[in-house]
């Protein structure tokens, strides 16, 4: 389940908040802190301007690719090319999964594009309100047809275009990056590792890999600042990312993809889950960059 988080704000000129030190910001009181009394109300102490820009650049690139690949996928789907659409499905989604912290910040676009039937039903809605990639996944793998789903495909492309347009205006703030990295791992731990994201196509490992790559990207951007603060943490993160990547590599296929989730044994998923959890703990410490 994803919670919509309003980390992004649309501002004319896209002024960056981090380290701006303007009067208004420093006057804000910490009434909404969840921590103990001794939390001081101060700004982010580190200037992360360059890092935020790098991440924004990455997100824009991913979104460009996501739109391009989604267009291709929808084209194949609407042409009734079931095998072609199946082959295009998981790779296209990876661009979305990599930049999910950004995509997530747009209220209902994320569920419209990436909602699972289980999520829709959880909200008390029926199948008819379901849209996006997973509905087309259902059509392809479960019903083995594209007929009758053309409107869903059109809607997916329209939603993707809207998301792409919105991301152009997004403003990245430190929390989006810091929280985003851990959120990506949580995505893996809660839905990918259990095979609950791609229940018809069983392409969960593609999403898994993309989520990890998204977290890794954030780490790479913050690396120089982290090195200065805690070199040991960087070493640990390098080791733990490598451990996850090495494990995933065991399931890679010749065409650059991944084996079906159904091919994994309990021992396989347990090992993957453990590696992700061991990465998550140090990853959650990346917030020290703002100290």
């Amino acid at each position: 389940m994803k919670k919509a988080k309003f980390y992004s704000a649309l501002m004319v000129g896209g002024l960056l908040l981090a380290g701006c030190g303007n009067d208004e910001a420093s006057k804000v009181e910490s009434e909404e802190t969840t921590q103990s009394e001794n939390v001081e109300s101060t700004e982010v102490a580190t200037d992360l301007t360059a890092e935020l820009q790098s991440y924004q650049q990455f997100a824009l690139e991913q979104m460009d690719q996501f739109l391009i690949e989604t267009e291709k996928f929808v084209e194949l789907f609407k042409a009734g090319d079931i095998e072609g659409a199946k082959a295009a499905y998981a790779p296209a989604r990876m661009y979305f999964e990599r930049s999910e912290p950004i995509a997530e910040s747009f209220g209902d676009l994320d569920p419209r594009i990436d909602g699972r039937l289980a999520d829709i039903e959880e909200e008390g809605k029926g199948k008819e309100e379901w849209s996006g990639y997973h509905k087309l996944e259902y059509a392809l793998w479960e019903e083995n047809t594209t007929a009758g789903y053309e409107a869903v495909a059109d809607q997916l492309l329209a939603d993707t275009k809207e998301l792409h347009a919105l991301v152009q205006t997004v403003e990245v703030i430190p929390d989006l990056m810091i929280t985003g990295a851990v959120d990506l791992l949580n995505e893996v731990s809660t839905s990918k590792i259990s095979g609950e994201e791609e229940i018809y196509s069983h392409t969960d490992l593609y999403d898994f890999k993309a989520n990890i790559e998204g977290a890794e990207k954030i780490f790479e951007i913050l690396r120089p600042k982290l090195e200065a603060k805690d070199a040991a943490l960087v070493t640990t993160l390098d080791e733990k990312f490598k451990a996850v990547d090495d494990l995933l590599a065991n399931y890679a296929t010749a065409d650059g993809g991944y084996v079906s989730y159904l091919d994994l044994t309990d021992a396989d998923t347990k090992a993957l889950a453990a590696a992700v959890n061991q990465l998550g703990e140090p990853l959650s410490q990346m917030g020290i960059v703002v100290e």
Binding site: A4, S30, T42, G287
Partner: protein, 419 residues
């Protein structure tokens, strides 16, 4: 998944101030070293392990420091959370560093304190998971032991006590891999179940990447007024035959190891035993008592009135039959001549999907100066024990529990001093 918001929220101007409120971006503490878990501090670039004292002002507190680890000769608490861990490291140095890190954290936990004092950076997770906040020490004890597999993993078999090896197979064993063995154990006992769980959770978290939980089991005990012997789920008193934990002589003869690096330590045997409650509950009281060899209500040996009356297995009736059936659980246990300190807890963990029966039983835990004591009793029970009909042994593990810690030292120091 989506919040209630105006459909075109992105067209709304959000003021800088609202923005800060939405994200908490206006809040960030500045504190060096407040992010990681406590235990290690950097002083002039060197790792220094903090020394935490037992806090005598704490309510319901068991002391950490002493000749022996706590949780053995400690009055039994109401709850246990027992965890068997596997280590992910291969060097002795990493193991030593882990125990040095754990030592002050254990003292803090047993003081009812947080693992680390409040951190001020809200952008990183807190050093303590927080669920024991506001609870007192609840007589928390933490007991750590090492299993036979650890010595081969860390390439220090020369220090593995000869008596520390996997327990043999016993009749009626149906051991599951996911309830058997382990490189390390943490036994957390407390009068509050959340305090016990919190201790294990936080020690495991502090060792992220170094250990993984192999199996764990929560358990409970209930005590009648005036500190009577607790009853297991078969309703029989469990622990009547124990040595008195205040009897130093008996404890030295039965529980504490007398020499080597394990001196003042002990061996812990842990066995999750499934109890077939449904079959037990349709057994007549007479048969139940014949199964144990004791009266259910009083706990007294059959034919006696007092729970602590001498258990005379030779006693016969006028017809020359044993008064306490030869196949009864206690008769066979006493016959072995071996003694141990039992410190078991009951568990109830839902329903077994295959049968629809209670998944309930006993987390059997005993302490002895040599696992041979436990083995002798279990072999004596063998195939004869009438109890076999009602129980299935699902798991088995043995651990060597370190000696106690003196202030300024760390858990397991004697082991590393013998390297």
């Amino acid at each position: 998944m989506t919040s209630k918001h105006d459909e075109k929220w992105y067209n709304k101007k959000i003021s800088r101030r609202d923005m800060l409120k939405l994200t908490g971006a206006g809040v960030a503490g500045v504190a060096i070293g407040a992010t990681g878990l406590g235990g290690v501090m950097k002083v002039m670039g060197q790792d220094v392990f903090e020394v935490v004292a037992d806090d005598s002002t704490t309510e319901n507190k068991v002391n950490f420091y002493g000749t022996h680890q706590s949780g053995i000769a400690t009055p039994v608490q109401k709850h246990i959370y027992f965890a068997s861990l596997n280590v992910l490291f291969t060097s002795k140095a990493e193991f030593q560093a882990l125990l040095q890190k754990w030592t002050p954290l254990m003292v803090r936990l047993m003081n009812g304190e947080l693992m680390v004092d409040h951190a001020t950076n809200v952008r990183v997770p807190t050093g303590d998971t927080g669920e024991a906040s506001g609870l007192d020490a609840s007589n928390l004890t933490i007991t750590v032991g090492v299993g036979p597999s650890l010595f081969s993993k860390l390439n220090m078999k020369q220090l593995q006590p000869k008596t520390l090896k996997d327990l043999p197979h016993f009749p009626k064993d149906q051991l599951q891999e996911n309830l058997t063995g382990g490189d390390l154990c943490i036994q957390a006992c407390a009068d509050d179940p959340q305090v016990a769980f919190h201790a294990v959770r936080n020690l495991v978290r502090a060792a992220s990447g170094l250990v993984e939980i192999h199996w764990s089991q929560a358990g409970f005990n209930s005590f009648p007024a005036h500190e009577g012997t607790p009853r297991n789920l078969f309703a029989f008193k469990d622990g009547t035959g124990n040595p008195l934990i205040t009897d130093k002589k008996a404890m030295n003869e039965i529980v504490w190891v007398q020499g080597g690096w394990l001196k003042n330590g002990t061996y812990l045997v842990a066995r999750p035993i499934q109890m077939h409650l449904e079959t037990w509950d349709r057994t007549s009281l007479k048969d139940q008592e014949a199964t144990f060899g004791r009266h259910r209500e009083s706990g007294a040996p059959i034919g006696k009135k007092d729970e602590f009356a001498k258990f005379d297995i030779e006693e016969k009736d006028l017809e020359g039959k044993y008064i306490i059936p030869e196949t009864s659980h206690v008769h066979l246990a006493v016959k072995s001549g071996a003694k141990m300190l039992r410190r078991s807890f009951s568990y109830a963990s839902g329903v077994l999907s295959k049968t629809g029966t209670h998944d309930a039983g006993l987390l059997f835990i005993s302490f002895q100066q040599d696992p041979a004591q436990f083995i002798a009793v279990q072999n004596s029970l063998g195939r004869l024990d009438k109890m076999n009909e009602y129980v299935t042994h699902r798991g088995s593990a043995v651990f060597a529990c370190f000696p106690g810690v003196e202030k300024g030292s760390y858990l397991g120091e004697a082991l590393f001093n013998s390297l």
